[in-house]
């Protein structure tokens, strides 16, 4: 098990930012690909880092890493059907999953360090007056 995995799971249990991000990632978009979900997770993180005036280079690097991992995951999902056995697919996937857990662990660390619990829950959003045209 990746060292990041426990931490990530622990983060998901608390009513904190990562709970929110994890929820968006895991539950809100069942119709989206893993890539799209991960990018959304990244978007939320970067947005929060904006609020915290986090160093721009650090933010960009993290976001790039998230996108890269997401792409790998998406490729993986495309290839799973080509494997002859489920064991083969898991072996192939293990490396990427480790990458993902590492990224998630870093997200968790950043948000925990920042103590975003209350701030994120209490963030104010101004709702749009009109709905933009549907895609």
């Amino acid at each position: 098990m990746s060292p990041g995995r426990d931490s990530f799971a622990a983060g998901l249990r608390g009513p904190d930012y990562l709970n929110m991000a994890g929820w968006v990632f895991l539950e809100t978009h069942p119709s989206l690909t893993l890539y799209e979900r991960t990018v959304q997770l990244g978007n939320i993180t970067v947005r929060l880092m904006d609020h915290l005036d986090t160093d721009k280079d650090r933010k960009t690097a993290l976001f790039t890493e998230i996108q890269g991992t997401a792409r790998k995951l998406d490729e993986l999902m495309d290839q799973v059907e080509n494997f002859e056995s489920i064991e083969g697919a898991f072996t192939y996937a293990r490396g990427y999953m480790k990458d993902l857990f590492n990224v998630q662990y870093r997200l968790w660390s950043i948000t925990q360090d920042a103590g975003l619990l209350k701030n994120t829950m209490m963030q104010n959003f101004a709702v749009p007056g009109s709905l933009e045209p549907s895609p």
Partner: protein
């Protein structure tokens, strides 16, 4: 650090998630909760505007509050007001304003209400103001919803779907046990609860707004996966126990603020709504009355065609009532 000013929701992941999971997921019901003066009605206009812009037909069941209809006049859409037999809504004043066209329709029976619904206009079912008695109103609305389900299920429906029905003061339509006054009201609430559960599959969404979770009939409130929380929403009970720990926060919400609680009982941030303007110098008057005719033996009977004898006997009866049996 975190900015105090609201950040625009548009363009965020959260907004995209909301659109996919609620606005464009046709038929998903929403229950808005909050104490009096917590801004539920104002927010209901905004939600209705989003849904209408997404292509849903809007049917608003008004609760007869003074000036409730006025913000609708500022939305730039034609308005169709549908009222019970011999009952009229009058919108007065505003002659020098560029108000939208208003069409007044009077039905001959509750079932006929749906025949007047039209896509692209704001359809207002203006019933509540004409009923003094909650039982009579509950029965009337139960007939309205029953006929909706019958018409849609049989494929004869004139209602353009997807559509949403916007009901303010939802406990007037489906009151909880504590608010039910008699068995007739309970039967009506039970009928409505059954209909609500089937509407989603028919791509008809119900958006109800009320003061407390426990004010709404249990079978009906459990059909609402989405919640909009305004100030002091009264979210007690096992169905909403996961939200109870946020009660101090809920009580501190300002009138323009609300929280959207996803079906998994998670929520993100406070959403700030804008108030809708009212046209100056315009007022609304409701003329007429529906009633439960009381027989001389002091037992209640259902609304029915008024006889001459009843008209003489009850000075309140200024309309001929609603034809047909409710039983």
């Amino acid at each position: 650090m975190i900015r105090e000013d609201p950040v625009p929701l548009e363009g965020t992941v959260l907004w995209e998630a909301f659109k996919k999971s609620f606005i464009y997921d046709r038929g998903v019901p929403l229950l808005g909760l909050g104490q009096t003066e917590s801004g539920k009605t104002e927010k209901s206009y905004q939600i209705a505007k989003w849904l209408m812009e997404s292509g849903e037909t809007w049917i608003r069941m008004d609760c007869g509050k003074p000036h409730e209809l006025l913000p609708l006049l500022m939305m730039g859409k034609k308005i169709k007001i549908i009222s019970p037999p011999d009952c009229q809504v009058e919108i007065m004043g505003g002659g020098d304003l560029d108000l939208p066209e208003i069409i007044y329709e009077t039905t001959t029976c509750p079932e006929e209400s749906w025949d007047y619904v039209e896509r692209g206009v704001i359809n207002v079912f203006s019933f509540r103001a004409f009923f003094l008695d909650g039982t009579a109103f509950g029965s009337y609305v139960a007939r309205v919803f029953n006929s909706l389900m019958n018409e849609v299920c049989t494929g004869d429906s004139p209602i353009p779907v997807p559509c949403f029905i916007d009901v303010d003061e939802f406990s007037e339509v489906a009151p909880s046990y504590g608010l039910i006054e008699n068995r007739h009201q309970k039967e009506a609430a039970s009928k409505i609860a059954r209909v609500i559960k089937k509407l989603r599959g028919l791509r008809i969404r119900l958006c109800g707004y009320d003061q407390a979770w426990t004010d709404v009939y249990p079978n009906a409130r459990r059909a609402f996966p989405w919640l909009m929380i305004c100030r002091s929403p009264g979210t007690s009970g096992k169905d909403t126990s996961s939200l109870e720990r946020f009660s101090p926060l809920f009580e501190s919400l300002r009138i323009e603020e609300a929280l959207f609680v996803w079906p998994n009982r998670k929520w993100i941030g406070k959403w700030n709504f804008s108030l809708f303007p009212r046209p100056p110098g315009v007022s609304v008057r409701y003329r007429g009355q529906c009633y439960i005719a009381r027989a001389k033996k002091r037992r209640e009977t259902w609304i029915r065609e008024t006889t001459d004898e009843e008209e003489e006997g009850d000075p309140r009866e200024v309309s001929p009532g609603i034809p047909g049996s409710l039983s």
